[in-house]
Amino acid sequence: MKRRGFLGLAAGGLTIAIALPGCSLLPVLPRRPLPTAEDAMSWLRHEQGRYTLYLPRAEMGQNMLTALKQVACEELGVAWAGVQVRMPDTRSIRRVKATVGSDSIREFALPLAQACATLRDALALGQTQGLLAAEPRPVESLRSFAGRGRHVGRSAPLEQGPAIVCGAPLYAADVRLPGMVYGRVLRAPVSPELASRVKTLREDAARAVPGFVALLRDPGLRLGGSEGVGIVARTPGALARIEAALAIEWQVEGGFEAADVEALINVNTRLAKGALAHRLRDDAAGAQTPWDIDLLLQVPLAAHGALEPRAAVAQWSQPEGLLRLWVGSQDIFYQRDAVARQLGLDETQVSVQACRIGGAFGARMLCTVEMEAAVLARRLGGAVKVQWSRAQELQQGFHRPPSQHRIRARLHEGRVQQWWHAFATSHILFTNAAMPRWMQTVSSFVGDAGAARNAQLPYRVPQQRIEFDLARLPVFTGPWRGLGAGPNAFAVETAWDLLADKAGADPLAFRLAHIDDPRLSAVLGQAARLSRWGHVLPGAAGRLRARGLACGIYKGLSYAATVAEVEVDASSGEWRVLGLSCVHDCGHIINPDQVRAQCEGNLVWGLAMVLSDGLPVGSSAVAAASFAEAPIPRLPQVPPLAVELIDSTQAPTGAGETAMVCAAAAIANALAAATGCRVTRLPVLAGDMLAAMQAQATTRL
């Protein structure tokens, strides 16, 4: 092992603030270059009549392998079997930005098409060797942007589909290497935002456990404020026995309970102190007449709940001086940079192979299990696999931040005249899981575009005040499908429904009357027709049935409207969704089947937001260790989903998060329509629903 590597490790530890000059204090930051046609040339190879496309995106269920292969086949003018798509490593393609924000088709399809067109034309001219310089070409000249073609605009077989249904190795945890051992990093059973370290441990007892390989304490195993203790065993099952034998006692600084988190995001407390720190709209305050609506909505901390607990395999090869990593990450280049920095290696000494991800939803942005595997492999000088437990996912990962929304609005002649939305939440892009407090403070000048996402109205309102505060919480928060769009759009669309009610208007007509964007009106109108909006639902004794709707524009780019039909048991408050209809417009569609699949996914996520998403907090930690405390929807809870797509020649936008702007609110609005009362805290538990109905009945008496 190189001496320099050890020094690098030590420098990453506790004494860093004193020992090193300022520049090294900066965490490794992900870089976000926009892809060009020139970059895209590095994604393509042509050899002996065969084309290979290295996927410049993470594959995490959006089936981007399939969609970008469609673009390549269309542009190259070859059959489906003519292109082989491969997952990249950091050495096979130029740096690309993280796979986030539904950007893959919007930003990568065009440069890929341009590169493929360059290659096609060069081959037609007889050039079969050497490197090509890409030519940016106008969209009009590209086959894959000219509506439906031989591959584009059609359903396609899922790339890796046969491997998935046959159980072939695809994911990071499926990697097996000769001599590979199994690692785990133990931490104090508290939020990693708190400082914690080992007080005592029983090393001799651990060494006596059959299968024990190593106990490693290394500054590189730190996560947030928590010291990590690495254990390595010959089998994964032995790790739990070693952990038990070690009997670590931890020293923890500070602590918190659920009420402390709630207090930090209490929007009314913050409003009482004056204006909030970040303003998206700051129109003059209106007349001092009473508000027509004044609503407080609460959205809890929530887990990503991907089925795959994150995993990584790392292998240090001494003769080559090379660390190889297999990861399921949204940004393999960030993994490389972070690991190289921590281990004191040059970036050419770290090679990161992308594997299919078993669900990401924003959770796979940071270097966590990858760093653990890399540090253990480097120290042991061999191959190590680390896969987090479900409990680690919940207690050491970051989550959707909780938020509180106070929305006040006034009507004038049936139209919304004044709108005031104030909310308090925590950081998403400037996540506390990666950023020290001082850096978040610096970032506070620019706010947090993730937390603000979709807080802007898709409706015409003359006077608007939209403001928010960000509070660093004692639990890790960060990107979650759609970032702030899920909670913010839920709040906006809930309030909008209430305003329609106050105005005595139909929610559909009321929305249409405030919309200027014809594409939004179009999806809304079509969703209403698809769901037979206004058509009377059959009733049943004791069962309240109704529809609700919501709509929105994700990132100002993609359009969706959803209608939900629900049924509530009047005696128990138990409720279920009977059907969800969604109309979606993301411009030019490469693969309608997979746009539909993403839309279905977002509908189920919207259902989850209302049904069950919510993480308990207590005793200085996320108080959930399994799916029992952090449930996700089960098959019987998922209703029939009807999805219609608007295809067009507009530039392709994105589908991965779009319907997050309307699915949850449509369901909540349907529950309110069915019962005549609104539960203002997510998730909507049967007990809360019943209590709200009983309170309303009492008021009527």
Binding site: N63, P162, C166, A173, P236, D593, R634
Partner: protein, 154 residues
């Protein structure tokens, strides 16, 4: 120790004999189709068939299945042969998004169709309620089970 997996005998080395069956399959024998999702039998990603019944391999030990016929997703069809009707239905309906839960979903569906060749929606919902999916493929799972059931009819 010897296990019967996918119609073949597999020796289990001594150090693996106290491990969960899931780890024996994945790490010792290289049958990585069954996945770790929770380790507690709550998610179904590790589902395999034990004498035709869907079981959670994360909760079983090798000694629990001595003498039993174990089928993993790798054993549903052989290389070069046609896919099992359930596997084919999963491709035809393009069910997988991330794909991580799907081996478990497929094994639960195979077990269901074995005891109930023409299930209704409620039967499917009941049989697969313990197989979680976060991507939102539930509707396609239902459709794929129906398709497999129809395809299996003469």
């Amino acid at each position: 120790m010897e296990l019967q997996i996918n119609g073949q005998r597999h020796q289990v080395a001594a150090i693996w004999q106290d491990e969960p069956l899931l780890f024996v399959l994945r790490e010792a024998l290289g049958l990585v189709g069954a996945k770790l999702g929770c380790g507690l039998g709550q998610c179904g990603a590790c589902t395999v068939l034990v004498d035709g019944e869907a079981r959670r391999s994360c909760l079983l030990r090798p000694q629990d299945v001595l003498g039993a016929q174990i089928t993993t997703i790798e054993g549903l069809s052989r290389d070069g042969e046609a896919l099992h009707p359930v596997q084919q239905a999963w491709l035809d309906e393009r069910v997988p998004q991330c794909g991580y839960c799907q081996a478990g979903q497929i094994m639960s569906a195979v077990a269901l169709l074995r005891r109930q060749p023409r299930p209704g929606d409620a039967d499917i919902d009941a049989a697969l309620a313990g197989n979680l999916c976060r991507c939102g493929t539930q509707q396609r799972i239902r459709q794929a089970v129906h398709r497999a059931a129809q395809g299996a009819q003469p």
